[in-house]
Amino acid sequence: MDEYALGVLTNVGLFSFLALSAYLLLVAGEMSFGQQAFFGVGAYAAGIGTAMWGWPLPVAALAAMALGAAAAWLVGLPTLRLRGLYFAMATLAAAEMFRILFELFHYQRTIDGELVGPDGTQGFRGIRWVLERGIEQETFLAAVWALVLLVLGAFALVERTRLGATLRMVGEDPELAAVLGVNVARVKLGVAAAAGALAALGGALYAHHNTYVEPRNFDIMLGVHSLAYALIGGLGTALGPLLGVALDIGLLESTRVFQGYRMIVFGGLVALLLIVRPRGLLDELTVNRVAAALRRRRTA
């Protein structure tokens, strides 16, 4: 496989974490434009862990997830009191605050005669853990996709449990869920923290794939795309966001013939898709129909 194809497949895997993070909140009934902030927190935290403190990547990624969850929990505390568009706007504002914090963040150390670490708007270079261990791109790609599959497996398990049903109920009818004894605020806060941890894991891996991150990587554009992944792919199953990322990146790559105008073409195609399928390609109805068909075939 050539370097370009490897890069595209790795990106699909990396952005899947962000897509699943946005999907988790959408299932719980909240539309966040701010998941890119936790992706950034994960990227910076894991980068500092490996490049500056000499931690192995798995340890740094776990720490990044914990920090991402804590940051999302803190953002969720005030913002989850809001509903709908107000919550969306609040998450966007919070994400911009994080981006500005990254711009103001200077923390560098000399390692092997070279300054390493976050340098404000100049970004964070030298996140070389993967390179220094001689890990090939193919191996990194396999590791990223193994983690994506692990997360998908966890989603599939949760969907079958009482917790999964509670999440869907909180998302679809929070008043009814509250009447039935569900602590809606606590569930949503837990979901926000889990979504933050997922986004941070994606960010941690992204920083190590790219070796370089900067505050502008985590601006509104990434937030819009992360939401689009889940909305295009569909809200019926966790496979939806993955389909969304593959379509998003696939469409962007296949419209290269339009050069600089391809974002306009891409935006038009996405708008068209959402008019025809407002809850995405794999929406709840489609997933239920497929599941029923499979059940019928099994019993026949």
């Binding site: 970004g123 220094e132 261990r133 001689g134 191996t139 370089y212 974002m263």
Partner: protein, 122 residues
């Protein structure tokens, strides 16, 4: 797949770091075509500043605010006459600041990122 993952896990636990750091100076000049640039890359060892000849280098580019939306498909850099010097032609999608990613596969594995502001000719 399992073997690859096992290799990754072992690598994750292995303490020693491999390889040496490289550095690069990149100078991109516009061609007669809009948004097409000829880039000259001087590749050196970061510590000694000795030129690195015979390297396998490819050059890609991303717009930092749109990392997966606006990017340039990596092109292989060709060695120039002088040792350590390479050239690559980049076809950008728009003017603005781009992060050039030099992916060095041999003689050592390294990735160097350089930010360059490509502006429209007056």
């Amino acid at each position: 797949m399992l073997r690859t993952l096992l290799a990754a896990a072992l690598a994750a636990l292995a303490a020693p770091a491999l390889g040496q750091r490289l550095a690069a100076d990149v100078d991109c000049k516009p061609t007669k075509h809009d948004l097409v640039y000829d880039c000259r890359i001087a590749l050196t060892e970061a510590a000694s500043r000795k030129p690195v000849a015979g390297a396998d280098v490819s050059v890609g580019a991303d717009m930092p605010s749109m990392p997966m939306a606006h990017n340039v498909r990596p092109v292989k850099a060709k060695p120039a006459k002088e040792p350590g010097l390479y050239t690559a032609r980049l076809e950008l999608e728009m003017y603005g600041e781009w992060a050039l990613k030099l992916n060095v596969r041999s003689p050592v594995r390294d990735v160097i990122v350089k930010k360059i502001d490509f502006r429209e000719r007056p």
